[in-house]
């Protein structure tokens, strides 16, 4: 087992990783920017190294600084969290080259799934159902028109170097396609440095359902059930739940088995999430995330597994120690992502936290690095806390969620807690009747 792990991230996930390491008796090194000198994961770490000024490119994305910090602190392994360098195949390869274990999948798998066209091809060959599409990049309007005619409108133009909901443009018909193509290519080049795009059928009202998988270095693979992440605003998830209200046990078992077989075939290791769009009983692969995900806690609540701990264990060479039969999904869990934003206008609200009181009680979990007197810096992602609630069934879970939200106090800044409170009294949400477009309509209605 590792003696010392360097945490190459910040905020609540850095604290999450630190907690798992400390519970395993592993010492922690927190690297941080000057803006995070007072962050909780810095204060609680065994060692802290300031690696740069606030800007991510000079700190949390600064590969040289992070590897140097790992060298001078004699870390054995590096956990990249999510975002930042977690899906940077070059970083993963450099870690290994310099003698540090990268706690995650191999650089090859990161690269494979980072290119969305390759990912789709690999998954299709591994037996995963995919969204009908151009099956390759489209260059130019003529190719796009031909491909779109075959797929059938409406279509979605996606950047092959994109992902995470970014770099997508829809076209309802052939008239809209040329302009949409031009914009998509320009935006892709600007955002990802690569203007290559492909086409996919645009599903009218799908749900976003993803399967969590976990594999060790010996080829043992399990799936840990699904998460329904359909509630999104501008392609960013706001609330997630497990299991999905839309699936029954048969469907769950079937898609789980397909996912495990694909992971076995490609010999993937560590955690990963296969994301699908689900419509009319059919699953369509969109992308695979080769890292720990923000919403991993809902899976932890229903399986009883500590996913960060499992990541560290398998990275250190330990076998899973259990099979699919040992995995039991119990009860229902919901996670609310709480952002430092105005709950209606979504204007960012960094600043100093006054009173802070997290909810408690049975089945209530808060993953957050906040504390009273902490100043939320303006340089980073606006997510400041995750409220995760578990209940014996969905009803109990939602009652508990409503109760917990009512107790949560974060003074001094705006947060999206009121938005979540409105959700927990909305009939559609309570019935589980929503798709990926639902939340956008909900917040726009509220905004009036």
């Amino acid at each position: 087992m590792f003696d010392k792990v360097l945490i190459a991230n910040r905020g609540e996930i850095a604290l999450r990783i630190l907690r798992a390491c400390h519970e395993m008796g592993i010492r922690t090194v927190s690297v941080h920017s000057t803006a995070d000198a007072d962050a909780m994961h810095v204060r609680l770490a065994d060692e802290a190294i300031c690696i740069g000024p606030p800007a991510p490119c000079d700190s949390y994305l600064n590969i040289n600084a992070i590897l140097t910090a790992a060298t001078i602190s004699n870390a054995n392994a590096i956990h990249p969290g999510f975002g930042f360098l977690s899906e940077n195949a070059d970083f993963a390869a450099l870690c290994e080259k310099h003698g540090f274990i990268f706690i995650g999948p191999s650089p090859e798998h990161i690269r494979m799934m980072g290119d969305k066209i390759t990912a789709k091809k690999v998954m299709r060959e591994a037996g995963i159902p995919v969204v009908p599409g151009s099956d390759g990049p489209v260059a130019g309007i003529d190719e796009a028109l031909k491909a779109a005619k075959k797929i059938g409108y409406p279509v979605l133009i996606k950047a092959s170097a994109g992902g995470g909901g970014k770099g997508m443009k829809a076209a309802e018909n052939a008239e809209e396609l040329p302009d949409a193509m031009k914009t998509a290519v320009a935006e892709a080049k600007a955002a990802f440095g690569n203007g290559e795009v492909y086409l996919e059928k645009f599903l009218k009202c799908p749900r976003h359902i993803e399967i969590q998988i976990l594999a060790d270095l010996m080829g043992n693979v399990v799936h840990l059930g699904e998460r329904d992440c359909s509630l999104q605003r501008r392609h960013q998830k706001i609330l997630e739940e497990a299991p999905s209200p839309a699936l029954n046990d048969d469907q769950r078992r079937k898609i789980g088995r397909i996912a495990v077989e694909a992971i076995e075939k490609i010999r993937y290791r560590s955690v990963g999430t296969i994301e699908f769009l689900y419509e009319n009983g059919e699953f369509y692969f969109i992308e695979m995330n080769t890292r720990l995900q923000v919403e991993h806690p809902v899976t932890e609540m229903i399986t009883g597994l500590d996913l960060v701990r499992e990541m560290v264990r398998v990275a250190a060479g330990a076998p899973l120690g259990y099979t699919q039969d040992n995995i039991k999904l119990s009860g229902h869990a919901v996670e609310c992502r709480i952002n430092a934003e105005h709950p209606v206008t979504f204007a960012p609200s960094p600043g100093r936290i006054g009173d802070y009181h997290a909810p408690g009680g049975l089945g209530v979990r808060v993953d957050s690095a906040l504390y009273s007197g902490y100043t939320v810096p303006p340089y980073y992602d606006s997510m400041i806390a995750k409220l995760i609630v578990h209940g014996a069934n969905r009803n109990e879970c939602l009652m508990r969620l409503r109760r917990a939200l009512g107790e949560f106090v974060i003074d001094g800044i705006d947060t999206t807690i009121p938005l979540h409170q409105r959700l927990t009294s909305n009939a559609d949400f309570l019935n589980g009747s929503y798709d990926v477009h639902w939340l956008e309509k909900f917040v726009n209605g509220e905004g009036e």
């Binding site: 000057t34 190294i49 300031c50 740069g52 140097t68």
Partner: protein, 160 residues
């Protein structure tokens, strides 16, 4: 029964010493002993949570208590960090004060340097980066030693 107006009881130094020895010997945090009218309590100062921070030029681990301003270290580091002539590290790495292990250092305390003179090297990922004087002046303090790891923003030397 002792009169409340009596002079304070003579301190039983032997008892205190015995209790302190017991505390240490048994590794206790606190001992309390007393009789009807009096109690003596001896408590060990709780150690701050052990943490190593590279904020200080010292290579030994420094206590870094979470939640406190860590006033002692603050007072020591602050005059240095706030000195107008302080040169801080632009990167995390290992400091070298000379070109080669046996060579003379680039600068000594008391040296006068010109803008652009090499003061130190900082090595990161096997690449040696020259730290140059941003202005001319006299080196009045050198806060680091060769082979020491430094973090971003750490004070290296002071040029007046």
């Amino acid at each position: 029964m002792a009169d409340k107006n009596d002079a304070p009881r003579r301190i039983d130094a032997d008892l205190i010493r015995k209790m302190a020895d017991l505390l240490k010997e048994l590794g206790l945090g606190e001992i309390e002993y007393g009789e009807d009218e009096w109690h003596v309590r001896i408590a060990k100062e709780p150690p701050p949570a052990a943490a190593v921070s590279y904020h200080s030029p010292h290579s030994s681990p420094l206590a870094h208590a979470p939640g406190s301003a860590d006033s002692a270290r603050f007072e020591e580091a602050n005059p240095i960090a706030n000195h107008p002539g302080v040169i801080v590290s632009p990167m995390v790495g290992v400091v070298y004060t000379s070109d080669e292990p046996k060579a003379a250092p680039f600068v000594k305390v008391g040296d006068t340097v010109k803008e652009g003179d090499i003061l130190l090297l900082i090595e990161a990922m096997k690449v040696f980066n020259q730290i140059k004087a941003p202005r001319s002046g006299k080196v009045i303090r050198i806060l680091v030693s060769s082979g020491m790891p430094v973090e971003f923003g750490e004070p290296l030397l002071i040029i007046e």
